[in-house]
Each structure stands twice: as C-alpha cells, then as structure tokens.
C-alpha cells in the first residue's frame, strides 16, 4: 500500500517535472525564434539598421554603422545558442543586456522627444507605438529573466544532487 502511494507520488512528480521542462524549453525556443528573426531581418538590411540606430542620437555615426553590422549576428548566434543549449547562460546574459540597453535607449529617446522607429524588427516594426514597443521589450526581458532563474535553479539542484 505504502509502496503504491510512493510510486503514485513519484509518477505525479515526474509528470510535473516533465511538464515544467517542456514549458521552459518552449519558452526558450520562442525567445530564440524572436531574436533569430529580429537579427536576420536586420542583417539583411544593415544600412537601414544603421540609420535606425543613428535616429536615437546617442552614438556617433561610425559606431552606429559598426553596431549595425555586428548586433544582428550577435542576436542570431545567441538565438541559436538558446536552441541548441550550447553557451546557454552566456547567450541569456548577452540577450538580457541587449534588451535592457534597447529598452533604456527607447525610453531615453521618448524622454528627449524623438519620434523614432525602434528598428527592432526592421521595417516591420516601423509603425509600432512607444507603449507597444515598451511592452514587447518588457515581455521579452521578463521571459529572459525567468529562463535565467530557471537555469540557475537547475544548476544548483544538479550541483546539490
């Protein structure tokens, strides 16, 4: 009887554990897909992306150009790292830093009264309003933070086990 209860409890716990794993995997893949898509669109048109960065009026033009060539590939590589779970925490850290910088730059532009397109998804995002842009960034940031904490918790559980 006791054995049956322990076994049932173990099965339920296993199912929960698997469901939780699937949830985190799907969330990771969604975030990876977003960054791979965003990176690919910008990598295809770096001239436009340089102009979008320049519109923020934060960086000198040569730096905007350098970032326009570099950042899309960084997003793509980090996205793929999330998919294949290689350099996973490094990718999460970089993407979190990127989205934080993008969000701060957007808020700074709004405060300074600049009416700009974010350039996040190339020209697909050119008509996004400021609240829509901010909400998207906050949602992505929250997902990245959640993935980060989940990864840390998993690591510490593995280490403890």
């Amino acid at each position: 009887m006791l054995n049956a209860e322990v076994s049932a409890h173990g099965t339920t716990s296993n199912i929960k554990h698997r469901a939780s794993n699937i949830f985190w995997r799907i969330l990771g893949l969604i975030i990876a897909g977003i960054f791979i898509y965003a990176g690919a669109i910008k990598a295809l048109d770096p001239v436009q992306f340089a102009s979008d960065i320049d519109n923020y009026k934060i960086l000198p033009w040569p730096i905007s150009v350098a970032l326009a060539f570099y950042l899309p590939w960084l997003e793509i590589f980090c996205g793929f790292a999330l998919v294949v779970r290689w350099l996973y925490r490094g990718a999460l850290s970089i993407l979190t830093a990127l989205i934080l910088v993008f969000t701060l730059a957007t808020i700074a532009a709004k405060v300074r009264g600049l009416d700009i397109t974010c350039g996040c998804f190339g020209h697909a995002s050119q008509n996004w309003s400021f609240p829509a842009h901010l909400a998207t960034n906050v949602a992505i940031l929250s997902a990245l933070m959640a993935l980060w904490f989940q990864s840390a918790a998993k690591r510490s559980a593995t280490t403890a086990g």
């Binding site: 320049d54 033009w61 060539f69 570099y70 899309p72 793509i76 350099l87």
Partner: protein, 142 residues
C-alpha cells in the same frame, strides 16, 4: 561558475564578429563610415541651383514647419503623411527630373529617410539629400 559564464559570453561575442566583418566588407560601397549619407547622394545648395527648373525640391520637415516657410516651389513629403503626400509628389515628378530633399539642418534624419524611401519604394533615380538642409538654403538665399 562565473569564469565559465564570462567565457561563454566572450565566445559568443567573438563568434558574431566574423559574419559582422564579412557583411561590412560586402556592403562597403552601400554605406559610408564617415557620414549617414553617401557623398554621391548629397547635393549642395549651389549644385542644386545649377539644375535650374530640372529639380523638384522636397521638404521632409513636419507640416507646421513647411507651412511656416519653405523653399519656393517645394513640395511637402514627410514620413508622417507619406501615403497621403506621395501621390501629389509623383504627379509632379517626371523622368529626367532631379529631386533634392531637405529637412531642418545637417543633423536631421528626415531628409535621409525620405530620400531613401523615394529610391527604394518609389524606385526613383537622381534623388539627393540637400547638404545642410533648410538652414543651408536660408544662409545662401536670405
């Protein structure tokens, strides 16, 4: 643990460098590292003047600035009302005409964006950005 994280970050940063450099080489003729506008896409007030009646002046500034003053004969075409204003511009444009787009000053981006959209979306040749914008035109004409 921290050193492994730093190593992962550094590897990813380095990996992205190679395609980024490759793309910079590939696009070297389509973007200038010195200025947001390629030198071949810029026109000075004096050069544009020599085109005489063969030039269409396009004012990329917001409506209210256009209403307060503009280059004589200029058409308003800004990104806020692109769809409404573009047909009016195209009605005036004809093959062989040059287009000089301007916004407020050297630092504004609107003229660059409007010029780019005219080239890409309307497929127009001979679209130039006025160097120094409206301020440069005022200096030369008032």
């Amino acid at each position: 643990m921290r050193s492994s994280l730093v190593r992962q970050v550094l590897i990813l940063l380095a990996l992205a460098l190679a395609p980024g450099v490759g793309e910079a080489v590939y696009f070297r003729h389509r973007i200038s590292w010195q200025s947001a506008v390629l030198p071949s896409e810029l026109v000075t007030v004096d050069q544009a003047r020599t085109w005489g009646g063969n030039v269409i002046w396009v004012d990329a500034r917001p409506d209210e600035e256009f209403a307060s003053d503009h280059v004589p004969g200029a058409l308003s075409l800004n990104e806020d009302q692109w769809n409404e204003l573009l047909p009016q511009f195209l009605a005036v444009w004809s093959p062989g005409k040059k287009v000089a787009v301007y916004c407020s000053s050297l630092s504004c981006n609107a003229s660059r964006e409007v010029a780019r959209r005219l080239r890409r979306e309307a497929q127009l040749p001979d679209v130039f950005v006025l160097e120094g914008g409206w301020e440069a035109w005022l200096k030369k004409n008032r």
